[in-house]
C-alpha cells in the first residue's frame, strides 16, 4: 500500500522560552518491507535541521531554536510504500530455536529492563497466567497468545495513563494506550527470555476500526530466531501487515519518542498533536506515477 502521512506537533508556551533543543523520530524507515519515498520536516520558527542515524539505525532529526519564541511547530510529511502483505502469523517454531540462536548475546538490550520496561510482581503474575513457553513450545503461538491476552484483558483508555506510565501501573490498571500495550508485551517477552523491542509508527485505519489511528502508534517486535524480528500489535491484536508504517525502533518509548526536547524558560507548555494517515487510491497512485514519469523525462 501507499500512504501519505502528515504529523504535526505544536507546543505553545505561556511565556517565551529560549535555547530550545529538540530531537525527532519522525522519519519512516526504509527496509525490505517498506520504503519511504518522500520525507520532509518543517519547523517553525525557522531553523537549520540536522540529521543522524542512531544506534538502532533510525534516522533522527534534531534542531535548536535559540532566540525567544512562544510557539514551536514541527510538521513531518512523508510518503511510504509498504510491501509486506496482510499481517499473517509466521510459521510455527520451537522456542529452543530462539534460545540457541548465536545472535542472542548481541541482543542484551532487548532482553533486559529499560527505562519504561521494568519487571515487577504484577508482571510476573500476568506471565504466570499466560504461561511461559517451554523449549519445545511454539513461540509464535505463544507471542500471539500473549498479545491476545493483553487485547482481551486490557482496556484501551486514553485517560488512565500518562506518557510516563510504567509497565507495573499498566498491568495493575489493566488499561492504557498503544504505548502501554506495547511496553507490557515487550516486558512479558523479555521476562521469559525472548528479545523484544518497541516500534513506533502509524496505522491506517481503513475500513476496520483500528485503535491508535488518529495519533502515532506503537507496537512490539520479538526476535524469533530464524524468523527474525516479528511484529504484532497488541492494541488491535493483529500481526503487522501492510496497513502499518514503521518509523523507529528502540528499547522502549524513550529511545524513539516522536518529538522531545529541552528549553530554558516557562515551566509548562500546551501540546497538540495531529496525525493524518491517508492511503492513496489506485487512481491517485496511477496519477502520481504518471507525474513521476514526466519528471524523469524532464530531467533527462
Amino acid at each position: 500500500m501507499r500512504f501519505t502521512i502528515a504529523h504535526r506537533t505544536r507546543y505553545r508556551y505561556p511565556t517565551p522560552v529560549h535555547e530550545s533543543h529538540t530531537i525527532c523520530h519522525l522519519q519512516p524507515r526504509s527496509d525490505i518491507t517498506q520504503y519511504c519515498t518522500r520525507y520532509e520536516l518543517s519547523v517553525s520558527p525557522r531553523t537549520r535541521v540536522f540529521s543522524y542515524a542512531d544506534r538502532f539505525a533510525n534516522d533522527v532529526q534534531h534542531f535548536a531554536i535559540l532566540p525567544e519564541h512562544d510557539m514551536l511547530e514541527v510538521v513531518a510529511r512523508s510518503q511510504v510504500v509498504t510491501a509486506r502483505g496482510p499481517g499473517v502469523a509466521p510459521q510455527a517454531m520451537a522456542r529452543a530455536l530462539v534460545d540457541d540462536d548465536p545472535v542472542l548475546d548481541e541482543l542484551y538490550d532487548f532482553l533486559t529492563e529499560s527505562r519504561y520496561v521494568k519487571f515487577s510482581e504484577p508482571l510476573d503474575a500476568l506471565l504466570a497466567e499466560i504461561g511461559a513457553p517451554g523449549r519445545d513450545d511454539d513461540v509464535v503461538a505463544w507471542f500471539a497468545h500473549a498479545s491476545w491476552t493483553l487485547n482481551r484483558q486490557f482496556v484501551y483508555d486514553k485517560t488512565t495513563t500518562s506518557v510516563q506510565a510504567t509497565v507495573e501501573e499498566s498491568v495493575r490498571l489493566r488499561s492504557g494506550v498503544c504505548q502501554d500495550f506495547a511496553h507490557v508485551l515487550i516486558a512479558l517477552c523479555r521476562r521469559t527470555g525472548i528479545p523484544a523491542r518497541y516500534v513506533s509508527g502509524y496505522i491506517h485505519s481503513g475500513d476496520d476500526e483500528m485503535l491508535g489511528a488518529e495519533a502515532s502508534h506503537a507496537w512490539a517486535e520479538a526476535y524469533l530466531g530464524p524468523r527474525g524480528w516479528i511484529g504484532i500489535d497488541p492494541t488491535n491484536d493483529t500481526w503487522i501487515g501492510d496497513q502499518f508504517v514503521r518509523v523507529a525502533t528502540g528499547r522502549d518509548y524513550r529511545d524513539v519518542s516522536p518529538v522531545r526536547g529541552v528549553y530554558t524558560g516557562a515551566s509548562s507548555s500546551i501540546l497538540s498533536v495531529d496525525v493524518a494517515v491517508d492511503a492513496l487510491s489506485p487512481q491517485q497512485q496511477q496519477q502520481e506515477q504518471e507525474q513521476l514519469r514526466q519528471q524523469e523525462h524532464q530531467q533527462q
Partner: protein, 480 residues
C-alpha cells in the same frame, strides 16, 4: 640532640623507607641524614611554617559551600615519598601500557565490539555497567582518543611489588595537591631539594594543555580550550580554578556555553566565541540534558550533538566510565594481551567477581578476610574491609551482594606499604598508595613525573581516601 627519627619503628608491612634491618634504603639515606640532623624543636618549627603557608593558601582553596568561607584542607604530611628512577620507569611503563589498552577497549566497545564477540569479556558485564554509555555507541571521538587524562591507583604489597588497585579514567582529581604540595615543601626543606633534585611537577599544566590541544578536532588550527566545571559547590572546584589559571584557559560553567548549529560557543562580553576542546570535569550523566539527565543544570543542551558531529573534543570522551568499572577491572590484564599482545607490566590485585556464582560463594564464605567494593562507587565509599567490620556490617553486605551480585567485587586485604609520617611529635609508619597521572594523545602516552601519594593517617588504617581521613605527601621522582 634527640632526633625525630630516633623512635621510628618500621611497620609490619613493606616499609618504603627502611630495610628489614631498620637501616634506610639507599634512596632514602639523604633524607634520613637530614631528618636525623633536625631537632624535634626545629622540626616543629618547620611544621608550623608549612601550616602557615597552607593556611595562607587555604584562603585560596576555600570550600565555598561553607557559609564561613573556610576550607577543608587535605592534611599534608611533611615527609616526602621518594621513588627511585628505575622504579618510576617500571611504573610509568605499566601505566602507559594500561592506558593504551583501556583506550583500545573503549574504541572497540563503542565501535565494532570485537572484544565482546571474541568473548574476551562477557557482554553482560559491559552492558550492565552503570557507566556504559549507549549514546556513545558508533560515535567516534577525534583521533579515537577517549582517555585524555587518567589516574591509575597503584599500591605495593608486602613484598614491595607494585600492583594496580584501580583505574580512574573519568575525571580523576588530585593534581592540584601535587602542584601545591611541591610548592609548600620547597619552603620546608630547601636544602634537601638541592641534594635530591626531584623531577619538577610544575610543567604539568602545560603538558595537559598540549595533550588537549593535540586532541582538538583535526580541522581546527589553533584550538580554544576551556575547562568545564560543575561550579563552586564541587569538591574539586579549587583544582579546576588552579588548572584554568596555570593553563591559561577559561573556566566555564554549563550556563556559559551555548550550542548553535552543532558548534559550542562561550558567551563572552564580546559575543559568542567558539570552543574546540572542553576539559570537562562534569560527569557523563550531566553534560547534556537533551540526551542524559534531563534535569541537569550543569551541562549544555546540544553539547552531545556537537560532540557527535566532531565539532568539539570532550576530554575525557563520553562513556569512559565503563573502563574503570570495578567489575571490568579483573579483565584488564586480558585486555592488555588482547589489544597489545603484551604481558601486563603491572599486575592486578586478585579479584573475585561476585556475578560469578562460584566466586560469589567464595566471597560470602571469606568476608572477614576480604575487601568488598561496590563496582560503581569510588572515593572509598561503598566499601567493606572484612577485618575491620562487624558481623552486622558483613551480613548487610552479604544481603546486598545476593540481591545485586553484579554490583560487587572482592579482593584480599592487602597490607599497603608504609612510609614515615608525622604523627604528633613523632614519626611513625603509615600506609600509602600512589596515583600517577597519564596524558594520552593519539597513540602516545605521556606519563609526567607527577604522582599523588595518599596516606592513611590513622594507625593501621588501609583507607587513604581524603573523604575517609586520608592525607597527602609530596612525591619525589628521581632522575636517572
Amino acid at each position: 640532640m634527640r632526633s625525630i627519627l630516633d623512635r621510628y619503628a618500621p611497620a609490619p608491612a613493606f616499609d618504603e623507607f627502611a630495610e628489614a634491618d631498620g637501616r634506610p634504603r639507599p634512596h632514602y639515606a639523604e633524607l634520613a641524614a637530614t631528618l636525623a640532623g633536625i631537632s624535634a624543636a626545629d622540626f616543629r618549627h618547620r611544621v608550623t611554617t608549612v601550616n602557615g603557608v597552607l593556611l595562607q593558601r587555604g584562603v585560596t582553596f576555600t570550600v565555598y559551600a561553607d557559609a564561613r568561607g573556610t576550607e577543608r584542607i587535605l592534611p599534608f604530611d611533611l615527609i616526602p615519598r621518594i621513588i627511585a628512577a628505575s622504579e618510576w620507569a617500571h611504573i610509568s611503563r605499566g601505566v602507559s601500557q594500561r592506558v593504551r589498552a583501556l583506550n583500545a577497549f573503549l574504541k572497540d566497545v563503542y565501535g565494532e565490539a570485537k572484544v565482546l564477540r571474541d568473548r574476551i569479556i562477557p557482554r553482560t558485564l559491559v552492558y550492565s555497567s552503570e557507566h556504559f554509555e549507549r549514546e556513545a555507541i558508533g560515535v567516534r571521538p577525534p583521533h579515537d582518543t577517549y582517555i585524555h587524562v587518567s589516574g591509575i591507583d597503584i599500591i605495593r604489597d608486602a613484598h614491595g611489588e607494585y600492583l594496580v588497585l584501580e583505574d580512574n579514567v573519568r575525571t580523576p582529581s588530585g593534581i592540584s595537591y601535587v602542584l601545591e604540595n611541591r610548592d609548600v615543601l620547597k619552603r620546608a626543606f630547601p636544602r634537601l631539594f638541592d641534594r635530591y633534585d626531584p623531577l619538577p611537577v610544575d610543567d604539568y599544566p602545560q603538558r595537559l594543555r598540549n595533550a588537549l590541544a593535540a586532541a582538538a578536532p583535526p580541522s581546527v588550527g589553533d584550538p580554544t580550550i576551556a575547562i568545564l566545571t560543575p561550579g563552586i559547590y564541587n569538591s574539586a572546584y579549587f583544582e579546576h580554578t588552579l588548572l584554568a589559571r596555570r593553563m591559561g584557559v577559561e573556566l566555564v560553567e554549563g550556563t556559559d556555553l551555548i550550542v548553535r548549529d552543532n558548534i559550542v560557543y562561550m558567551k563572552t562580553t564580546r559575543g559568542l566565541q567558539r570552543v574546540d576542546v572542553l576539559y570537562r570535569r562534569v560527569d557523563d550523566d550531566y553534560i547534556d540534558p537533551l540526551y542524559f539527565k534531563a534535569d541537569s543544570t550543569l551541562g549544555v543542551s546540544g553539547l552531545f550533538d556537537a560532540y557527535r558531529s566532531g565539532n568539539v573534543t570532550l576530554a575525557n570522551a563520553v562513556g569512559t566510565g565503563v573502563a574503570d568499572d570495578k567489575a571490568i577491572y579483573p579483565y584488564v590484564p586480558a585486555l592488555i594481551r588482547y589489544y597489545l599482545g603484551e604481558e601486563p607490566v603491572l599486575r592486578n590485585v586478585e579479584t573475585f567477581d561476585c556475578s560469578d556464582p562460584a566466586q560469589r560463594d567464595h566471597v560470602l564464605r571469606n568476608m572477614p578476610f576480604l575487601v568488598v567494593k561496590r563496582t560503581a562507587a569510588s572515593g572509598g565509599y561503598g566499601m567493606l574491609i572484612g577485618s575491620h567490620s562487624t558481623v552486622g556490617e558483613r551480613a548487610e553486605f552479604a544481603d546486598a551482594i545476593n540481591a545485586n551480585p553484579r554490583d560487587f567485587i572482592a579482593q584480599p586485604i592487602i597490607t599497603l606499604s608504609a612510609h614515615p609520617t608525622v604523627v604528633g611529635e613523632e614519626i611513625a609508619p603509615r600506609h600509602i598508595d600512589l596515583r600517577p597521572f597519564a596524558l594520552l594523545s593519539g597513540d602516545t602516552v605521556d606519563v609526567p613525573a607527577v604522582a599523588f601519594t595518599r596516606v592513611a593517617l590513622r594507625e593501621g588504617s588501609l583507607v587513604v581516601n581524603s573523604s575517609q581521613g586520608g592525607g597527602s605527601k609530596d612525591t619525589w621522582i628521581l632522575a636517572d
